[in-house]
């Protein structure tokens, strides 16, 4: 009897068990609870800092995205860009290839577009738009793909750590951009609008159709979202990606050439980043700076991860991020700058902490020790 007593005393209060069979609705309830909890925490922080009613503040944040037509289009454009980069990193991440180099790949893709616009546009060869656009698109895609594929070749052949490799590539890319912005700006370090007179190489629909100038970008990203969903879900390559991601050994066993899949997937990932760069340079800014990607390369990873690599969920997660960013911008004007634009980063991070934290309760269940059972055993 004594022995049984000491034994049960040592038993921990609870233990954790993996579960795989959680119903779909239950998982979503947990996620929604996490987002609500995060919003409550954010609300508390807002009250502590500003002393104002948090609901009022959230309403201002809502205005940041929806108050005027212009703000709405800007929000959709930001959403499309973030979504595009999130789509780009998804295949690699699904394969458990930790590509955090999207920032650099986007910049280099954008650089490819900018080089074409510069050399073949007004100041250079003055090609016609029909000829210039395909060349620009192709260059951006190739540049992005090459920048992305370099780490994957080393990963596939010599198992070089890709997280750190791609991270370093970002900074090399930023410096390359710094070089080009310098030589193009003749010293002032800002490149003005490229081809401002002829609009050669600008990826925009005519003004009559699209007032905001963002519509073409948005349509392209919508197309990419659907394509990426189909690619991951229904293609053979998409299947190979998920097998490699689940277990490299299983993939080898069933005869998948892992090396080939890794390199091919990073080519696709890099190429998509190149497209994102193209859309940012040719479609949005018509210019390039080291800030063109603006940290989206990192945020996109979180967007993709939170959406469980599902392109359609990504629309939602990207929306949350962009909504907070635009909202914090709006709060900046409403609260006499007590809240500034950087505040968005804090809110985004808190929400992400809660969402990635709640995955634990979806993947594992906590089993509390039951006293009754122990007594029976004793």
């Amino acid at each position: 009897m004594d022995k049984a007593k000491t034994k049960s005393a040592r038993e921990p209060l609870f233990h954790i068990v993996k579960r795989t069979d959680i119903p779909f609705w239950k998982a979503w309830i947990i996620r929604i609870c996490a987002v609500l909890a995060a919003l409550v925490v954010c609300g508390i922080i807002i009250v502590l800092l500003t002393g104002k009613n948090p609901f009022e503040m959230y309403k201002f944040m809502w205005d940041g995205s929806f108050k005027t037509e212009r703000k709405f289009w800007k929000m959709i454009q930001d959403l499309a860009m973030l979504l595009c980069i999130a789509l780009a990193v998804t295949p690699a991440f699904k394969m458990r290839f930790w590509n955090i180099g999207a920032e650099g790949q986007v910049l280099i893709g954008g650089l490819g577009a900018a080089i074409c616009m510069k050399l073949l546009g007004d100041d250079g060869a003055q090609l016609s738009n029909e000829l210039l656009l395909p060349i620009t698109i192709l260059t951006a895609v190739v540049f992005g793909a090459v920048w992305g594929v370099i780490p994957s070749i080393f990963k596939a052949n010599w198992n070089t750590n890709e997280t750190l490799f791609t991270l370093m590539m970002n900074y090399i890319a930023i410096q390359i951009i710094a070089y080009f912005t310098f030589i193009w700006s003749s010293g002032s370090n800002t490149v003005g609008k490229l081809n401002a007179q002829s609009h050669a190489g600008w990826l925009q629909l005519p003004k009559e159709i699209d007032k905001s100038g963002y519509l073409l970008n948005i349509l392209i990203v919508v197309g990419l979202t659907v394509l990426m969903f189909l690619y991951l879900r229904y293609s053979k390559q998409g299947y190979e990606i998920s097998v490699v991601g689940e277990s490299v050994n299983t993939a080898r066993y069933i005869g998948i050439n892992v090396k080939k899949v890794v390199i091919r997937t990073m080519l696709i990932s890099g190429a998509l980043c190149g497209i994102a760069g193209l859309l940012l340079v040719a479609g949005t800014d018509q210019s390039i700076t080291a800030e063109t990607a603006g940290g989206r390369g990192y945020t996109a990873i979180m967007v993709s991860w939170l959406a469980k690599f599902n392109p359609f969920y990504m629309i939602l997660t990207a929306f949350i991020v962009v909504f907070l960013q635009r909202g914090a911008d709006e709060l900046q004007t409403q609260t006499d700058r007590i809240i500034n634009a950087d505040f968005a980063d804090i809110l985004i991070a808190i929400i992400i902490f809660f969402i990635i934290g709640c995955e634990f309760f979806i993947n594992y269940s906590i089993k509390f020790r039951s006293h009754k059972k122990k007594e029976v055993e004793a």
């Binding site: 750590n161 370093m168 979180m302 980063d345």
Partner: protein
């Protein structure tokens, strides 16, 4: 000339050394903490807030007590970075979240906190320039031993730094000895290499991961404090630290996870970062805005080369910890 170069290189190196030593400890426990830039931001801004509050509580700047002026920012910095480490650890170790995503979110969080509170402070002082200065506190941090002036170039090279610089080197040496020569150090390495084996041997994986990550992030946070107080002379201007944070992570690879190499590696990176200035000053190479980007990318290129070289060589001692980036669950198969 060489003494001045050496001096400035060391100044640049110390923040990197703090960050690198902290990250090595963290990574040795199997946690790849990509939140270092965020932690440095939080460490820096907490120190500045501490210093700012202390300076404003004084009637005149001359009353400043050296102990309080150093102690308050330091404690604020340590607490701030400890909280960051705890957030990371709770999410990755207790809740087993993905380390890359958590780390990136932590960087977003930390940079956001740094820039946000920096912005608030800047607004509070109504300055014309977008920065906030805690020069009185910074002067205490920068104070070097008086003998530095008497010893000429020798003094400048070896004694001309604030106390944090020596702390960084001492911490790196202690970390090196700890990892290589002590039993807890061995246990920590075991946790990073193969947590299941360590667990079977009776080592508490959770305890080691928590301790290593939290202490590591406190050390890294001091890098942020050093940067603000010593390199920037107490001026917080909302930038500069993310670069150092990522470089510190690069440095971990460069020094193959060895804190004693980190001292040399940090010095080399520091020297690389100011080399363009000195090379052009003495007209050895013409450095202008056109060529500067290529010098700025050197540390990263060197790191990539080291990374590739190490993976090609496949030497056991130079590999990352085996379980780096993976969360451990005892009941996993």
């Amino acid at each position: 000339m060489f003494a001045a170069f050496f001096h400035r290189a060391v100044l640049q190196a110390i923040s990197l050394l703090f960050g690198c030593t902290g990250e090595i400890l963290t990574e040795k426990s199997g946690n790849l903490n990509l939140g270092i830039p965020g932690i440095m931001y939080v460490g820096g801004i907490s120190g500045v807030i501490g210093g700012f509050l202390y300076e404003n509580s004084l009637e005149s700047k001359d009353d400043a007590n050296w102990f309080l002026a150093i102690f308050i920012p330091l404690i604020c910095c340590l607490i701030g970075s400890l909280i960051m480490g705890l957030i990371y650890c709770f999410l990755t170790t207790t809740l087993r979240a993905n380390q890359n995503v958590t780390g990136l979110a932590l960087t977003t969080f930390g940079v956001g906190i740094g820039k946000y509170f920096g912005g608030v402070l800047i607004k509070l002082v109504h300055a014309d320039v977008p920065s906030v200065t805690v020069s009185t506190t910074s002067n205490f941090y920068k104070a070097s031993l008086p003998i530095a002036q008497d010893l000429g170039w020798f003094g400048e090279m070896f004694f001309g730094y604030g106390f944090l610089a020596y702390t960084a080197i001492i911490i790196a040496v202690i970390a090196a000895v700890f990892l290589k020569r002590t039993r807890p150090g061995l246990n920590l390495r075991a946790v990073g290499e193969n947590p299941a084996t360590a667990d079977a041997a009776g080592i508490s994986v959770t305890k080691y991961k928590y301790l290593a990550t939290c202490i590591g992030s406190m050390i890294a946070g001091m890098g942020g404090l050093y940067y603000v107080m010593n390199n920037a002379s107490g001026v917080w201007s909302n930038n500069g630290l993310d670069n150092i944070g990522w470089l510190a992570i690069a440095l971990v690879i460069f020094t193959v996870w060895k804190p004693n190499f980190a001292i040399l590696g940090a010095f080399l990176f520091g020297a690389l970062s100011i080399a363009p200035y000195y090379l052009s000053l003495y007209e050895i190479v013409d450095i202008n805005l056109r060529t500067k980007p290529f010098f700025d990318m050197l540390p990263y290129i060197v790191t990539v080369i080291v990374l590739i070289f190490n993976s090609l060589r496949k030497k056991r001692e130079t590999q990352p910890p085996e379980a780096l980036g993976l969360s451990y669950f005892r009941e996993d198969r």
